[in-house]
C-alpha cells in the first residue's frame, strides 16, 4: 500500500499515462527504438539533475551547473583541436568540472556565502570565461576530430555510449546515496543540519563534496554535449540550469533539502525529456514546451507540498495508534 502511495510510484504512473496519451496521437512514439532515442536525448539532463540532486539535498542550489557544462565543453573542443587524445580529454573535463564545482563549494563552506549568491556569480563568470578563451568564435563540426564526435554515438548493444554512461552514473549515484556514509550525510545535513553537527558530520564539507560531484558531472556532460551536437560556443545549454532544477522538483527532491531519491530524480528528467521530444511529434508547436514545463513544475510542487504537509500533532488516541 505504501508503495502505491510513494512519490516515485506516482511519478512512474504519470510517465506511463503521458506515454499512453502520446501514443494515441502518434503510436510510433512508444516504439522501443524511439524511446531509446528519447532516453539518449535526455541523458545530459539526467546527468546534471543527479548532480543538482546532491546539492539540493544539502540545502544548497547550483545555478552555475550549465555554465560549468558549457565551459568544460568548450575546453574539450579546444583540446581536441590541439590534438589531445580523447581519454585525456575526458579526464581533463571531469577534473576541470570538479574544480569549478569546488570553487562554489569552497565559497559556501569556508566563507559561508549562501549558495544562491555564489552560483549566481560563478554562473556568469564561468560562461564569460568561454568568451575570454575564444573571443566569441564557434567551434564547428568540421573542426572536431572524427573520434571526438563519434564516441558518444558509438552503438553498443543497441544504445549509444552516451546513454550507457548515463545509466552507469545513475547506478553509481544510487549506490552513493544509499550505501555510503557520504550519501547518508547528504540526507542528514539537509534534513537536520543542527543534528548533523552533533553526529560528527561536517555540514560545510558535505556541501562542498556535493558541489564537487555536481561539477564533475557537469564537466563530463560538457564533453558529451559538445561532441554529440558537434558544436561549441558561448551560449550552449543557456538556461539549462533551470530545466535541471525543474527535473529535480518534478522528481520529488524537496527544495528545503534532506529528501528525494535517485529514482525520482531520473524520472523527473525523463518526464521533461518525453515532453520535449513528444511535442513536435504530436503536432504541438515546440513553442509550447516552456509553458508546459512551467505548468509541470507547479503541479509537482503542489503535489510535493500536500505530501509533506505536517499533520497537526497527533494527540487524540483515536486519531492514530502507535506502538
Amino acid at each position: 500500500m505504501t508503495l502505491l502511495k510513494s512519490r516515485e510510484a506516482i511519478l512512474a504512473l504519470a510517465i506511463l499515462a503521458l506515454l499512453a496519451l502520446i501514443a494515441t496521437r502518434f503510436p510510433g512514439f512508444v516504439a522501443p527504438a524511439n524511446l531509446a532515442r528519447v532516453l539518449t536525448d535526455t541523458s545530459p539532463l539526467i546527468l546534471l539533475a543527479l548532480g543538482q540532486m546532491a546539492v539540493i539535498l544539502t540545502k544548497c542550489i547550483d545555478l552555475s551547473i550549465a555554465a560549468n557544462l558549457a565551459l568544460c565543453g568548450m575546453i574539450a573542443a579546444l583540446m581536441n583541436g590541439a590534438g589531445v587524445p580523447l581519454p585525456l580529454i575526458l579526464l581533463a573535463v571531469i577534473a576541470l568540472g570538479a574544480v569549478l564545482g569546488a570553487v562554489n563549494g569552497l565559497l559556501v563552506w569556508k566563507l559561508g556565502i549562501p549558495s544562491i549568491v555564489v552560483t549566481l556569480g560563478t554562473m556568469t563568470i564561468y560562461r564569460g570565461t568561454i568568451f575570454l578563451l575564444t573571443g566569441g568564435a564557434w567551434i564547428n563540426a568540421h573542426q572536431m576530430s572524427a573520434g571526438f564526435k563519434a564516441f558518444p554515438r558509438m552503438m553498443i548493444a543497441g544504445l549509444p555510449v552516451m546513454t550507457w554512461i548515463a545509466l552507469a552514473i545513475v547506478a553509481a549515484v544510487a549506490v552513493l546515496m544509499t550505501r555510503t556514509a557520504l550519501g547518508r550525510a547528504f540526507y542528514a545535513v539537509g534534513g537536520n543540519p543542527h543534528a548533523a553537527v552533533y553526529a560528527g558530520i561536517s555540514v560545510g564539507r558535505t556541501q562542498f563534496l556535493a558541489f564537487v560531484i555536481a561539477g564533475a558531472l557537469a564537466g563530463l556532460t560538457g564533453y558529451l554535449w559538445v561532441a554529440r551536437y558537434a558544436v561549441a560556443y558561448v551560449d550552449i545549454a543557456g538556461g539549462f540550469e533551470l530545466d535541471v532544477v525543474a527535473a529535480c522538483v518534478i522528481g520529488g527532491i524537496a527544495i528545503a533539502g534532506g529528501s528525494g531519491s535517485v529514482a525520482g530524480c531520473v524520472m523527473g528528467a525523463l518526464f521533461l525529456g518525453i515532453i520535449k521530444n513528444a511535442l513536435p511529434v504530436v503536432g504541438i508547436s515546440p513553442f509550447w514546451q516552456m509553458a508546459i514545463s512551467g505548468a509541470a513544475i507547479l503541479i509537482a510542487i503542489a503535489f510535493n507540498a500536500t505530501n509533506q504537509r505536517e499533520r497537526g500533532r497527533i494527540i487524540l488516541k483515536q486519531a492514530e495508534h502507535r506502538t
Binding site: G128, W288, A291, G294, I297, A305
Partner: protein, 329 residues
C-alpha cells in the same frame, strides 16, 4: 510593579547618524564615487551629460523591480519570474497594439498583466504555502512560455508613437522619464519599507515569520501584497522597456531576474532575509550602472562585463567575511 518602579534603560546607545556612517550604504556610496572618478579619468566621453543620461537606461528598469524584489527578499521570499512577467506583459501590450489599442489602454494592460502575474505567484506562495524559489522558477517558465506560444519567433513592432514617451522621453534636459520613474520608485519604496507599519512587519516576517504570526501579524496577506508589488513593478518596467525598444519578442528581458537579484544583494540586502535598505539598493543600482556604462565606453563586450559583475557580487559578499575571519586570528 504596576508603577514604573523598575530601572530605566536608555532608548539608544548609538545615534542613527553614527550607525549610518559605518554602514554598507556608506561603503556603496564611496564605491560609487570612486567608480565615477575612475570612469571619468578612463574615458573622455564619460562626463558628457547626454552619455550619462543614456547610461541610466542600464539600470533604471532593473532598479525599479529591485526595490520591490528587495522588500520581498527581506521578507524571506524571492521572485525569479520578474523577467518572464515583463515578457508576458510586453506580449499582451504588443497584441493590443497590433489590434489598434491606444497608449492609455496599453499602459493599463501592462500594469494589469503585471499585477495578475504577481497575484498568481502570491496565491501559490502565500495562500498555498509553496516555497517561493521553485514556484517562481515554475511561473518563470509558464509566463514566458505563454509569450512564446503567442509570438513564436515573431515580434510585435506596431506600437503607437505616443507610447515611446515612457522609455525614450525626457522630462527636462537630460533627465529621462525612466530616471524620474526610478527616483519616484526609490522614494515610494523607501517610505514604504522604512517609515510604515507595513515595512516594519516585513522586517519582522523576514527575521522570524513564526514569531511575527504569533504577534498578530497577518503574514500571508503581507506576503501576497509583496508579490503583487513585484508584479506591478515588473509591469511598469515592461512598459518602460517595451517603449524603449519599440518592439516585443518573447525573449525580452532574458536574464533580468538574476541581474535584479544581483543589484539587491549588492545593495546589502541579506539573501536570507531580515535586513537591508532601499538606499543600499538604489546605490547598488547606481554602481552597477556606472560599472557597466564605463566598461561599455571602453568597448568591453557585454559578456565580459557580466564576468566583472559576477566577480563583484562574490567579492562584495566575500571580502567582509574574509576580513572578519582573518582578524579573529
Amino acid at each position: 510593579m504596576t508603577s514604573a518602579t523598575g530601572r530605566r534603560i536608555p532608548d539608544r546607545l548609538t545615534t542613527p547618524a553614527a550607525r549610518a556612517f559605518k554602514s554598507w550604504e556608506a561603503l556603496l556610496l564611496i564605491v560609487a564615487v570612486a567608480i565615477f572618478v575612475l570612469n571619468s579619468l578612463a574615458s573622455p566621453y564619460f562626463l558628457d551629460p547626454w552619455n550619462l543620461s543614456d547610461a541610466s537606461f542600464n539600470f533604471t528598469e532593473k532598479a525599479m523591480i529591485a526595490f520591490a524584489m528587495a522588500m520581498l527578499i527581506i521578507a524571506g521570499e524571492i521572485d525569479l519570474s520578474v523577467g518572464a512577467i515583463i515578457a508576458l506583459a510586453s506580449t499582451v501590450m504588443g497584441a493590443a497594439a497590433a489590434a489598434g489599442a491606444g497608449t492609455p489602454v496599453l499602459v493599463v494592460l501592462g500594469l494589469a498583466t503585471g499585477l495578475a502575474c504577481g497575484a498568481f505567484n502570491g496565491m501559490l506562495v502565500a495562500r498555498f504555502g509553496l516555497p517561493s524559489i521553485v514556484v517562481t522558477i515554475g511561473t518563470m517558465s509558464l509566463f514566458r512560455g505563454i509569450s512564446y506560444i503567442v509570438l513564436g519567433d515573431g515580434a510585435y513592432t506596431a506600437y503607437p508613437a505616443s507610447f515611446a514617451w515612457f522609455g525614450q522621453g525626457y522630462v527636462w534636459w537630460v533627465i529621462t522619464v525612466e530616471l524620474v520613474t526610478f527616483a519616484l520608485a526609490a522614494l515610494a519604496f523607501g517610505i514604504l519599507l522604512h517609515r510604515t507599519n507595513f515595512g516594519r512587519m516585513v522586517y519582522a516576517i523576514g527575521n522570524n515569520a513564526t514569531a511575527a504570526r504569533f504577534s498578530g501579524i497577518r503574514v500571508e496577506k503581507i506576503r501576497f501584497i509583496l508579490f503583487l508589488l513585484t508584479g506591478l513593478m515588473s509591469g511598469i518596467a515592461a512598459i518602460c522597456l517595451t517603449s524603449r525598444l519599440g518592439s516585443t519578442r518573447p525573449s525580452i528581458a532574458s536574464g533580468f531576474e538574476l541581474e535584479v537579484v544581483t543589484i539587491v544583494v549588492l545593495g546589502g540586502v541579506s539573501i536570507l532575509g531580515g535586513s537591508g535598505s532601499i538606499l543600499g539598493v538604489a546605490l547598488a543600482a547606481l554602481v552597477m550602472g556606472l560599472v557597466t556604462f564605463g566598461l561599455g565606453l571602453l568597448n568591453v563586450p557585454g559578456i565580459v562585463m557580466s564576468i566583472i559583475v559576477g566577480l563583484l557580487l562574490i567579492a562584495v559578499i566575500a571580502l567582509p567575511r574574509l576580513w572578519t575571519m582573518l582578524s579573529r586570528r
